[in-house]
Subunit: 304 residues, 4 copies
């Protein structure tokens, strides 16, 4: 058994109403619960209670929640994280809304990752009986699900070791300085078959680069870009192709300055025997922005 | 640990040269080895030695090979299959070209399934260092990989039980007679996150309905359809949308009459906690051919 | 100067409310005017007052309206139609809602075609000042415009002669019996650069085969097909590729049994010097349904 | 009658072999004739002898050739151009390879435009009898045809007047300073139904901004971008959506620095009564790069 997926992203936003509008009307998420200063949202194709928590006050990542299969997984990963040298703690059922008992890990880059095996089941908007392929009443970009997060770390190689050794992730793609004396500059890691459930690039510890919404294909990326323009969303890069993961993408910012991505393309399946793809530093811009082979300044300097 | 994927399909063809032309020039596979009366082929995006074995003489399925992670998996699944009541046997390294020791199982529907954990590694056509997203010299349809097979069984429910209980597959979608007294008419089962690595529908035991090639998206499906017309390939159904799996598809026949499919759309990820989608018999035509909601006669009667 | 485009289609429907639902909620047209037993509708990307008139009582075509540039065009084409041997008549301003004075022609196949140069201008839903590429509040299939009609004629060659000689259309593609002794079986004719503004195939005089809505591309065709399934629309053929025109398509029926098409692909521009493409009878099924190369019975027998 | 289309673009390139490689292997054109220092090329979907002339020595535009229907058109437009105040001259048959007698006009912006009504007919690569929708042996981007050119002019309004008044073009879209005191900053003009056969923006007289290749859709744009990356083509902007014309696009440079575009989307038909779309200066970046709403410096400063 292993980690199943990125279950929720919990971030800070400077203005909750602006954030509500962005994630709800532009991204198409549904508000499933709200309390003063806090919103819980889910995408139409997700069956768990929520995948995004917005907390007013500041900007940046509070924590990432990953769902595991069983309580045994919780214990095993807690022990492994401790053995790796991480500080861990217990999370009581209900501390995260509708989420069961969990384990909190301060990973080597300083980010807070929580594991849990239970969360209230809600179901997707199309249901599980003779479903339509998509909901007729989708709003805005109508993102399918929150897919992955890219975090920054002063030592990406160490974080890669943590996720692979302690949490059983495997490395789909890796950015290195060069072949002869490789130093890890970035790592795209999967707990399942998707190219990445977590990724890391070199940058300031404990910071977030972006989290990503899954869309169905390149046409959905164009439609998303059109909607960003209609809704005055600040676009960072794209639409373009990634070399890394082969996906197609637009990077953009929520009203608070947290970077989002729309990402399409489960372009290959990363089985446990998948041969890790390596990108050398001289080809890294191509790896990220395949078509123009150029990164803008914001991409490499703006973290929240 | 579990079964990783459908590794190879071994079929009979009436005419090896016609089959070579179909799978090589139309589907875009590469012939990796040949012996009198036999061909081994792989797709450009597969890294194992081969995924298709063609054997001259007749028509229909010889066996399906599924790759597992370790030798322990082989032993565990052998034991579980025996406990389920299946006849099993050992396969020596080399009996399947470049494949290591394995286990052969006569599954309840009479199909031969072989498990193995080793096969010669060849690598994809784009490589694992700074790769392009697709090979510039792709031929014909340029299928990415062989994705799944759909077999017939007199008792689909029994075969579903075998794959889930003995081999740890989970059920992504299921066709049933009705909700109140459900009888299994078909089952789409995954060992990983894809909607199906094996599927079964009611029909004559030991027969093949089709095996499928993965394409990237709906546009690739159109291009594949165009090439089928250019190459005089016999088309069964499509292009259309599946309700079941949400994928897009064309069914067609190789020159010997074995049914193939081009399938696009890893439209959702089937995690172990994925809520099985049910289709009732009255909606089954819609489940298979979502747009027209009509099945032709060949689809439900032609097996090889 | 010449005929500009198919301006409106006027048909009979058996049930006005069912037709309203189909053309409004499924096709995404807007009802611009209604009177007892009659509805006028337009698509979002059309700037004239209406493009479809629905009249309760029966089924089939009442008339086709083609817009010309000037009053001089009206007179010239009236004279030419008379010289060709057609019965013509004058249409007074207002006989067609918001449409100016016109000319009615009983074309050789017995269909009624009306020419006019004035109709109330309404504007598209995206406007003409800094417009978005598509309207955010589009409904259903959100068809861009009504693009062309295909009518039946006992003598398609005669109707081709009428449209080219009397109305200055040019022949983009033509279906013939064979090369050596060609007899015209069908003709796809353009007044502008699109592959066809009117088409004709052999069949019963005065009957309609279908009229078509323009969509942007193959992805919009899939989405349209999905919506047809959601809305229980009866599908005739498709999605598929046309050989003739290279377009992509679905044929389907409105609730009264009038055949519609969604058509994508201004795949080439038919300039006045465009070399007519010929299709021989043995390749005609491929010309119409390029991928499967098979026509169903309804396609060749159902006219309204 | 009127001008039919942009027939050929004649440019200078610094290195003929690099240019041959770019236009042939990357863009997919075919070299139809060559002489020392000069190449003639055509796209697969064009039926005239050539659409691009490359002349070694320098960079930038030599002339644009527009094809008209008849010799009467030549004379009429010659007279109209003279009445507009332009210097004109006669071009003898053969001065442009396989092109008949023509008229050369020095348009108000100083560009050389030549009109002609005859050029050797070659036919498209798919032929005119039972054709496939695309050629199986296409190379690289496999552009359909050269579609339009965008030139710079110190007085775009004057050039718009020339093309509309003297050559019967109509204005599809126009960029203006503002609504109340509009000054023309750019103009997208059509001789047929396409959004633009010539366009002009404010800039240095007699200079070229880019000429464009038509592709079928947004997916072809992605594939083109992938090929640009594989072939180390310098990309300027894109892939993205245009607000103006609604098309999708990538701007890039040939090895000599002449800007090219791949453009998809005959998104609407510009009939003679098409209501001109206006873009105000404050929305012009959105008009050109709809998604990011930002122009880079090269786009507004690099002309050849």
């Amino acid at each position: 058994m292993s980690v199943m997926r990125l279950g929720f992203v919990h971030i800070r936003v400077t203005d909750l109403e602006e954030a509500r509008n962005h994630y709800s009307n532009t991204m198409g998420m549904k508000v499933v619960h709200e309390e003063p200063g806090k919103l819980w949202l889910k995408c139409w194709d997700e069956y768990d209670h929520h995948s995004l928590v917005l907390e007013e006050g500041g900007v940046g990542l509070v924590k990432l929640g990953y769902k595991v299969q069983t309580k045994d997984d919780l214990e095993r990963y807690e022990k492994r994280a401790q053995q790796f040298g991480c500080t861990t703690g217990r999370v009581s059922a209900g501390e995260n809304l509708t989420v069961g008992d969990g384990v909190a890990i301060s990973v080597p880059s300083g980010h807070r990752v929580e594991l849990y095996d239970e969360i209230e089941y809600v179901g997707t908007d199309t249901g599980a009986l003779n479903p339509d392929p998509w909901p007729r009443d989708g709003r805005g970009i109508a993102a399918h699900w929150i897919d992955h997060a890219l975090v920054a770390a002063d030592d990406p190689g160490l974080l890669e070791r943590f996720f692979t050794e302690a949490l059983d992730f495997h490395v789909a793609e890796r950015a290195i300085t060069n072949i002869s004396h490789p130093e890890v500059l970035g790592s795209w890691m999967a707990c399942g078959e998707s190219p990445h459930d977590i990724a890391v690039i070199k940058g300031p510890d404990a910071k977030l680069h972006h989290f990503a919404f899954h869309l169905e294909d390149w046409n959905a990326i164009l439609r998303a870009g059109d909607i960003m323009s209609m809704d005055d969303v600040s676009v960072d890069i794209g639409p373009t192709r990634h070399g890394i993961t082969r996906g197609t993408t637009i990077y953009f910012f929520d009203p608070s300055g947290n970077r989002n991505e729309v990402f399409a393309g489960l372009g290959y399946r990363t089985f446990p025997d998948f041969p890790t793809v390596n990108w050398t530093e001289d080809q890294l811009a191509k790896g990220i922005v395949y078509i123009s082979r150029e990164l803008n300044e914001a991409f490499t300097t703006v973290f929240t």
